[in-house]
Amino acid sequence: MTTTEQAPGQTRRIRISRRRPGAGRARVDEFDVAAGPDTTLLDALREIRSHQDRSLTLRYSCCHASCGTCGMRANGREVLACVTPLASLGSGPIAVEPLANARVEHDLVVDMRDLYESLEPTGRPLIRQDEELGGQEEPGPTFARYEDCLECGLCVSACPIAGSDSAYLGPAALAAAWRSVQEPRGADPSDVLAWVDDEQGCWRCHASFECTEVCPSGVDPAGAVMALRRELTRRKIDQITRRGRQRR
């Protein structure tokens, strides 16, 4: 039973890489699902779990790119399954794997602990207070809105540095750090800046920009990393010129 509006028009083959604790290498299970034009990858996976293999484990919750839990790789690309139509994944078999650069717990479920631990020190709150509605003549009240970041981990999965260097803070944490610097709310941004001013912090990025490309929520982590560098560079220059002036 699909969750599409229109009658299923075709069958798609889904190949899921499944790793279990203590089982060593992952095995690949193949399933066929009926798909309509609107069927998403998540629809297909839920169909598989409900009617074909109840042992398939995966994370999902909101079904509309808001909770960020259904992150995975489809044909090698980082996606949120709930907003990825099968029609956008070519016409052949679809290879589904869990996110990269995170420990696989089982099947498509990865350990999100590292991501959340890297976000904690940024001090970035969930709600920002800076949204202004357009079309107003005078500056109106600012509104609260959730930060764009869904904490989905797609950016970390896509980052080439995160893959080969496990100590790198990663794009998600750095983007959150930049938000804290942009909107300090009375706190001193120097703390967060000092935290990212590290060889494993914002300087470890090598500008592949994949994080920004895969982000489903418009966070632009790469831009944030460069903004952090610009800010740190500016402060350093200020410091030097100030010291220079003092000596004279």
Binding site: R103, G163, Y168, A194, H206, R229
Partner: protein, 138 residues
């Protein structure tokens, strides 16, 4: 203050072999990742060339005779082609490097793809001119 010091425990991302991790360098599909991988590959090749170059220079210590025979080798067309590739790698790595230096300081980040296209186009043009010059066409 490192990531370790701040969070109090080391990052627990899976420690995989550098080789497997390096496979992640080639996964990116977009222009920024192409630039990233190109820079890594040309960088490694240039480092390899550097050692080769040092080896060749060593021959200088062996007297003018061996030096002359090496120079003769370099006039070989096949070797010239390789040398032209070297020029290409230097162009690509250098011009992309300028892009990285600027973007990495927060300058022109929004245009990073355009900068890469411009850098590669410039490399291509200069490469063609160099090759033509090397083979005596111009």
């Amino acid at each position: 203050m490192s990531a370790t010091a701040r969070t109090g425990h080391p990052a627990r991302r899976p420690l995989q072999s550098t080789l497997r991790g390096a496979a992640g360098w080639a996964r990116g599909r977009h222009l920024g990742s192409v630039a990233f991988l190109t820079n890594r590959v040309t960088g490694l090749l240039l480092v390899a060339y550097l050692y080769l170059h040092l080896g060749v220079l060593y021959l200088l210590t062996r007297g003018s005779g061996s030096w002359a025979s090496v120079l003769h080798l370099f006039k070989n067309h096949y070797v010239l082609s390789l040398e032209s590739l070297l020029i290409l790698f230097i162009l690509v790595h250098g011009l992309n490097g300028i892009r990285l230096a600027l973007v990495g300081s927060g300058i022109g980040v929004r245009h990073q793809k355009a900068w890469f296209t411009a850098a590669m186009s410039a490399s291509a043009v200069v490469y063609v001119v160099v090759v033509l010059a090397m083979f005596g066409v111009i």
